[in-house]
Structures are given as structure tokens and as C-alpha cells.
Amino acid sequence: MNLEDYKGVWVFAEQRDGELQKISFELLGKGREIADKLGEELTAVLLGDKTDDMVKELVAYGADKVIVASSPLLGHFTTDAYAKVICDLANERKPEIIFVGATYLGRDLGPRISARLATGLTADCTSLDIDTENNNLMMTRPAFGGNLMATIVCGDHRPQMATIRPGVFEKLAKDANRSCPVEKVTVNLKESDIRTKSIEVVKVAQVLADIGEANIIVSGGRGVGSKENFALLEKLAVTLDGVVGASRAAVENGWIDKAVQVGQTGKTVRPTVYIACGISGAIQHLAGMQDSDFIIAINKDATAPIMKAADVAVAGDFLKVIPEMIAQINTLRNK
């Protein structure tokens, strides 16, 4: 393998039902930075059916080039069809790097591609950079249940491949005036290449009954004061795509269901973000949530134990702080 033959950064543009997924733009955002560091081209590779509108978006979000494979056989994702089209293209054009979203789809497709191309794949990366000494891609990911961060390189194989967690990197600002070459490639696929047959796709409303599964928990304690006030926590939870939790005191006051109780007698949780409102932080409660990645406490009493366990401790009234937070998050999202 002559590594010099491999040039350019490819981003797999993930779409579902003709709609580009957010991760595609995030990959373009990070891909742009990596391509610039290498002084190479950033290419979005889009597979689908009726792709014209999606192509325009990929251009507007930073691609130098878009390769489009359009076919009725590519409208709906199948491992067989997608892996074939992408591997055929990669074998012919030899990209140096391929980024794929670490979505359910990308984690199905990514390893199938890397195995066929006989190269490495680093899963679920949260940080990417170029080694200035040798221009290798440095891919950093959590391991051991998040207890360890490892930086992985794929030094003597090409392409270097990584799947990337959604929500980690930012998309670029949309520039509808950008233009770039768009190449439609001939799709060399037969129906018989696809060994799975999709019978039905069903969308299910998210039910997060188990707070142990939630990424973000907005939790309330004695200081919340009433069932009605819990509705405000619920509102913040919904805004953050999270769920509501509670301390034992709040549950025993009948303000909220026991199923969401956090602590020694409730559930042990380790979400990415734990927001404790009106919770003093008894040792039994702390035992159930102190391994959360990022803890925010909002409490009138600046000396409460929870404030010492928190990454950010706000001395104040959650009834005033939370509505402000909701408003600011919404503003941020609408930007």
C-alpha cells in the first residue's frame, strides 16, 4: 500500500427518508477543519434516492465536492447496498480519511466498510486532530465504560476511518451562496445484491421510563416545595431531551413517582448531566448520582453538601433560574 496515493477527506452524508441527519453537518464541520489542516479536499458522499435538495444543503455546509449515488435501491438503508457503493468508490478514488456518524446506521455500516477495505476503524470518537509530525489522524475515544480516554492512530493503512458521536462537533454556519462541483456517479447495483428485505419501519415515541438510561436528568428535592413546581423541572427536562428525577424527600412528600427516585434506596444513575434543584445532598442521595459526568446544583443554601459535589453550584432560587435557562436554551437552538 502506497500511503501517498490516498488523498482527501470523505464524510458519509447520512440521510433517512430523504432527510439529511444532523450528524452529516457536524461531520462536515469537523471534516472542514481536518481537510484544511491537511490542505486537502473535503468531499461529502451521499447515497439515496431523489437527492437534489440534500446536495444543496451539503454544499451550503462546507463541502468542497459532493459525490452522489442516486438510485431507488439506495432510498432506504441496507448494509449490503451501502457498503458496496461506498467501497467501490473508495477503492477507485482512494480517500485518505473517511468519517461516518456513530449512529445506529453508521455503526452498522462503518465496520462493514473498513473490513472490506482491510483498514482500521476507530469507534465513537469525541476528538480528532492531525499529528503535525506525520499527518496521521489522531482519533480519541472513551473506553472502559468512559473511565479511560484513548488516542488511536491508523498509521500504515488507508483510508483512516472513524465513527463520530453525534452532538460532539459543531456544524458550520450555513452559506447558501457557496458552490462546488457535484458529481453523480453510476450506481452499479442489482436487487439481488441486497440480502435483507425491509418489511416495515415503525417510529415509536420516546418513552424514557427508566431514569438509569437517561443522558440528562433534572432532579428535584425537598426544596422544590410542591407537585406544581415539579412541572417546571419537567419543562426543563423536556427542553434538554432529558427526564425528571427526585430525591427521597420529594418522593415521600408525594410530589412525584417513586420510579424516578435517585439515591441509595432509589436508583443509581450516571447521566452525562445531572441538574439538582432544591436538593440538599444527603450522603444517600450523593451515592446515587455522584458519578454523573457533569453536575449542576441550584440551591438557595450555598453551604448545602450538594454544592460541593457539583461542577457548577448556583446559589439561588430554581424558580427564577430555570425559566431563564429554558429561554436561553431555546434562543440558542433557534440561532
Binding site: 448494509t79 449512529t103 445506529y104 455503526r107 465496520p111 462493514r112 473498513s114 473490513a115 482491510a118 482500521g120 476503524l121 476507530t122 469507534a123 465513537d124 473506553a143 472502559f144 465504560g145 473511565n147 479511560l148 480516554m149 484513548a150 488516542t151 488511536i152 492512530v153 491508523c154 498509521g155 493503512h157 452532538g167 440480502r195 435483507t196 428485505k197 425491509s198 418489511i199 416495515e200 419501519v201 415503525v202 415509536v204 420516546q206 434538554l240 452525562t272 457533569f294 449542576i296 450555598a302 460541593k308 459535589a309 457539583a310 461542577d311 457548577v312 453550584a313 448556583v314 446559589a315 439561588g316 427564577k320 433560574v321 431563564e324 435557562m325 436561553q328 436554551i329 440558542l332 437552538r333
Partner: protein, 260 residues
């Protein structure tokens, strides 16, 4: 029907603690378990055996002590167990691991290859699809339901926002998630059989006839350049500001850390 289940023995990462002084992982005393998703794959295979009749073989690549995980699988009701163990496998990344397991599978009969979606010590979810590629099998990942139909299977795979029902002819490779089932415990009859009549076979790299250049460190395109424990939690910061400014600070922190 022949089913081969790919198992990995893993340290129970829930029990892994960080040494606060050195900042390194404390591995001593951490119990080894069958990787949870793999156990779901085994359970589903045993259910297919119960309902339709099947021969269930469990295979694992690992050090000699991984035999314990395979013994547990036998005690749950698997018919046969093979430990693929050799110094030549040391330092394998997912690609090299998948080559060893695919070579093992080539020596066996299978209609279904069942693996867990991912292992809790690596979380890569790559070995299953990579095996499928080497064996040129159809694959379905994130499996949460399996039904036997004429000539194949009807499989429900999970998506982030729902699910998809898929029909596929065998042979096929599936990867299980925990929604698939609730694994059974070892039972007395199987434990008895395990000690009386069953053994864990041990196969070497030579036994599976794999291309040695594809195995272990040599066959691994990815290398760990460095690893570090997460920064220990520093002292938190106390914010004493009016509500609006305090909220602004909190939201900016959430944004900065990519939580929103």
C-alpha cells in the same frame, strides 16, 4: 439449525475504579463476566433451541481464563464450547479479532452467527459486522426480536427513533441488544452435564488455519498511541449571581461541554 454464539469475557466495568492518587485504573479484584450483550445473544440462541431445536456452539477468543465464561455458557444450556486461544492473538484490535473468529467459524457449521452488539470494555460494536464481512454474510445489528419463518428469519432491529422489521434468509449474522430478552440463570441439569459430559475445547491459531499476518498485533491496523484517565473532578465553582446571569453561565457551560 446450527447457531454459533460469539462471546467475550470482559471485566465488569461498573466495578472499575480509578486510583485517586495515581489516576490509573484499578483492575485488581474486578470480576470477569460474560459481556452483557453477548449473553443476550446466547439467551436468544437457547430460546431458538428450545422452540425449534438447534445445536448451539459458543466460541470466544481470549486468554486461558476466558474458559470460565464458556463454562457458564455451557451451564446455561449451550451444547458445545470452543476457546480460541493463542499468543499469536495478543494485541488484536477489532479487525484482527474478527479475522480470528471468522477463521474459527469457517471450521464450523452455522445457520445463524449471533454476537452481542458491543462489549462493555471497548464499546466499539465492530467485531460482529467485520466477521459478517469476512464470511460474506448478510448482517442485522441492534436486534431486539427474532422469529423463525420459512427459509429464514424475521428480525426486528432497533433504530434511534423506533424499529424496523426485516426478513432475511439464513445464513446470517445478528448482533443482540439488551432489549432482546432477559438471560436465564445457569440451571442444575446443565451445570451437571457441563461437568459430566461437556468440555471446553481449546483451539490454537494453527488449529483454525488463519493467515497469521492477519492476527494479533501484526494484523491490527489501529494502535493505541496513548491513553489517559479522565481528568479527576476539580473543585466545583460557586456561582452567586442574579438569576438571569447565573442561567447564562450554566447554559454556556452546557454548551461548552457539548451537552446541548
Amino acid at each position: 439449525m446450527n447457531i454459533v454464539v460469539c462471546l467475550k469475557q470482559v471485566p465488569d466495568t461498573n466495578e472499575v475504579k480509578i486510583d485517586p492518587k495515581t489516576g490509573t485504573l484499578i483492575r485488581e479484584g474486578v470480576p470477569s463476566i460474560i459481556n452483557p450483550d453477548d449473553k443476550n445473544a446466547l439467551e436468544e440462541s437457547l430460546r431458538l433451541k428450545d422452540a425449534h431445536g438447534a445445536h448451539v456452539t459458543v466460541i470466544s477468543m481470549g486468554p486461558p481464563q476466558a474458559e470460565k465464561a464458556l463454562r457458564e455458557a455451557l451451564a446455561m444450556g449451550a451444547d458445545e464450547a470452543i476457546l480460541v486461544s493463542d499468543r499469536a492473538f495478543a494485541g488484536a484490535d477489532t479487525l484482527a479479532t474478527s479475522h480470528a473468529l471468522a477463521a474459527t467459524l469457517k471450521k464450523l457449521d452455522y445457520d445463524i452467527v449471533f454476537a452481542g452488539r458491543q462489549a462493555i470494555d471497548g464499546d466499539t460494536a465492530q467485531v460482529g459486522p467485520e466477521i459478517a464481512e469476512h464470511l460474506n454474510l448478510a448482517q442485522i445489528t441492534y436486534v431486539e426480536k427474532v422469529d423463525v419463518i420459512e427459509g429464514g428469519l424475521k428480525v426486528r432491529r432497533a433504530w434511534e427513533d423506533g424499529y424496523e422489521d426485516i426478513e432475511v434468509k439464513t445464513p446470517v449474522l445478528l448482533t443482540a441488544i439488551k432489549e432482546l430478552n432477559e438471560p436465564r440463570y445457569m440451571n442444575i441439569k446443565s451445570i451437571f452435564e457441563m461437568f459430566q459430559t461437556k468440555e471446553v475445547k481449546v483451539w490454537s491459531a494453527a488449529d483454525i488455519g488463519a493467515d497469521i499476518s492477519l492476527l494479533g498485533l501484526k494484523g491490527s491496523p489501529t494502535k493505541v498511541k496513548k491513553s489517559m484517565t479522565k481528568e479527576p473532578k476539580g473543585k466545583g465553582e460557586l456561582i452567586q449571581l442574579p438569576a438571569g446571569e447565573a442561567a447564562l453561565y450554566v447554559v454556556s457551560k452546557l454548551k461548552e461541554n457539548h451537552y446541548i
